[in-house]
């Protein structure tokens, strides 16, 4: 397996995106009071080249599409493809996700909508969730602190702005150290996933002494080998050099098929086909909570990248509320009525 640092992967993706002129995509979900959602896709490209297979969310012929040629903030002309569809409810969105044949069909996604009546207010919660790929990986927050997590989940242009303005050196150094930690997290998660998959395949084998627990103790060895053989890990694994160092030469010969199968499964999960995009959500009423980035209009924004759902589900959620005016009036009148009754009794008694 060719292990690459996140930095390298990002650089590669950018290079590929530039060479292929991959469109920049923003998906906006406008959530309505009744749980229906108007989904809008906005794709921008310097050329009028848009393929249906490029679209990051489920798309079909029922969408209303419009193309236009616009001028961007730099004064360059850009082709913009806009598509819009109204989904009657979340079930419709989830059905579309299940039948997705677009560029992100490899990931499992779903949306959730909850409307809670809380007497004085009605609360709305909407979430877009991408299921995790590794079931035995480590949570990223075990490796990064709050500041680093914030950087990791911030839109790229926001981080770029910091890196190019005042204190640019500080931010560049910060990002470099973050990338090292991210790589460590990915390696540990990769090793853990392989161990669990391998142990699963070995279960029930007669005379097999390799248990999940015994393999777990060799996780650090696996990680060190990953780090030491960056770039040639794939070939060394195929040659059977590395497996022997992890589980011993004797077991390596005995269980090479299982180890390779587990390695293949984990590699496929790790190098998943996924096109990054930006997700935005607009909620009904007043926004009161979100785990996303907000703009000045309280519109939420999340960059969606494959590393976000490697070991944990990526949940992009927002909560808003709307006051129930009638409930405020009814409650106010009731409280006043009770107070008046108590005063009346006191006067009558006195």
């Amino acid at each position: 397996m060719k292990r690459k640092s996140l930095k390298l992967i990002v650089a590669m993706i950018l290079a590929i995106a530039a060479s292929c002129d991959e469109p920049e995509t923003i998906v906006t979900d406008i959530v309505h009071h009744d749980g229906s959602v108007t989904r809008k896709i906005e794709m921008k490209n310097s050329e009028n080249k848009f393929k249906i297979s490029d679209i990051q969310v489920p798309f079909d012929s029922t969408w209303i599409v419009r193309d236009s040629l616009e001028i961007n903030e730099k004064g360059d002309t850009v082709w913009v493809k806009r598509a819009e569809k109204h989904f009657l409810n979340i079930a419709e969105i989830n059905m579309a996700y299940k039948a997705d044949s677009g560029s992100n069909k490899a990931v499992s996604r779903h949306a959730e909508f909850k409307k809670k009546f809380k007497w004085f207010n009605t609360e709305y919660r909407f979430a877009e969730i991408i299921d995790k790929k590794f079931s035995n990986g480590y949570p990223v927050d075990q490796f990064l602190n709050d500041e680093e997590l914030k950087w990791l989940y911030s839109p790229e242009n926001v981080n770029d702005e910091k890196k190019n303005n005042a204190d640019s050196l500080k931010f560049r150094a910060f990002e470099d150290s973050l990338l090292v930690k991210v790589e460590k997290w990915e390696n540990k998660s990769f090793a853990s996933e392989w161990i669990n998959k391998f142990a699963g395949l070995l279960e029930g084998k007669p005379e097999c002494t390799l248990t999940r627990q015994s393999l777990k103790t060799r996780e650090d060895t696996f990680v060190k080998l990953l780090e030491a053989n960056e770039g040639k890990f794939d070939s060394l694994w195929t040659a059977g050099v590395l497996l022997g160092k992890i589980i011993g030469e004797e077991d390596a010969l005995k269980y090479k098929i299982e180890a390779d199968s587990a390695f293949k499964i984990v590699t496929e999960l790790y190098f998943i086909d996924f096109s990054n995009y930006t997700q935005r959500i607009s909620m009904p009423g007043k926004l009161i909570g979100t785990n996303g980035n907000t703009d000045s209009a309280m519109m939420m924004l999340w960059p969606v990248r494959s590393e976000y759902f490697l070991t944990q589900p990526c949940e992009m959620w927002a909560v808003s509320k709307e006051p129930n005016r009638w409930a405020w009036i009814v409650s106010g009148l009731f409280v006043l009525f009770v107070i008046a009754g108590v005063i009346f009794r006191a006067i009558k008694k006195g």
Partner: protein, 180 residues
């Protein structure tokens, strides 16, 4: 002097013996009773209304229940508002992302109701801070531009030479692009 005194005594005795004649006693009685009863009725009417409205204050358990319910309503209201304020405060501490990519957001079908979502370059359904006049003006301009754009497209489509010229200049990677 004695004779005068005697006359005086006789008159006094006479007056003492003759009791006063009281005519219309019943009429006076009725009048007094009427005045008393009218006043009582007025007091009774107001008392009956409040007694009817607040009948429950005389029943201990109903009174206590309603008081408890009122207190609970006030507590729930206070609690909910505190939670909301705390969440809003947390939200306001989050850095605001100024993403220029957001400004290209437009609708496919620009209708009056869609503009309810627009709020000085902001999107926020249900809230409108710009006046009707400005919306109408914006709509009018938008429609005019759309029509002009369609006309322009038609002209380009009908003129192969112009089309080729534009394609050559617009859709190449050349840095010297024509900026429409």
């Amino acid at each position: 002097m004695d004779e005068e005194k005697k006359k005086y005594d006789e008159i006094i005795n006479l007056l003492r013996k003759s009791s006063p004649q009281f005519n219309g006693k019943k009429e006076i009685e009725d009048k007094i009773m009427h005045v008393i009863e009218t006043g009582r009725q007025k007091a009774d009417q107001s008392e009956t209304f409040f007694d009817y409205l607040f009948w429950w204050v005389n029943i201990g358990w109903v009174r206590k229940s309603l008081v408890i319910a009122s207190v609970l309503i006030v507590i729930i209201f206070g609690y909910q508002q505190t939670i909301i304020l705390k969440r809003l405060s947390d939200l306001s501490r989050q850095p605001v992302v100024n993403d220029s990519r957001m400004f290209t957001y437009t609708s496919l079908t620009l209708k009056d109701d869609y503009l309810l979502n627009i709020n000085n370059n902001e999107l926020n359904p249900g809230k409108m801070k710009i006046s009707d006049r400005r919306i109408k003006k914006l709509l009018k301009s938008y429609k005019e531009i759309t029509e002009k754009y369609k006309e322009l497209q038609k002209i380009i489509e009908e003129d192969p030479q112009l089309k080729k010229y534009l394609e050559d200049n617009l859709y190449t990677h050349d840095d010297n692009k024509i900026k429409l």
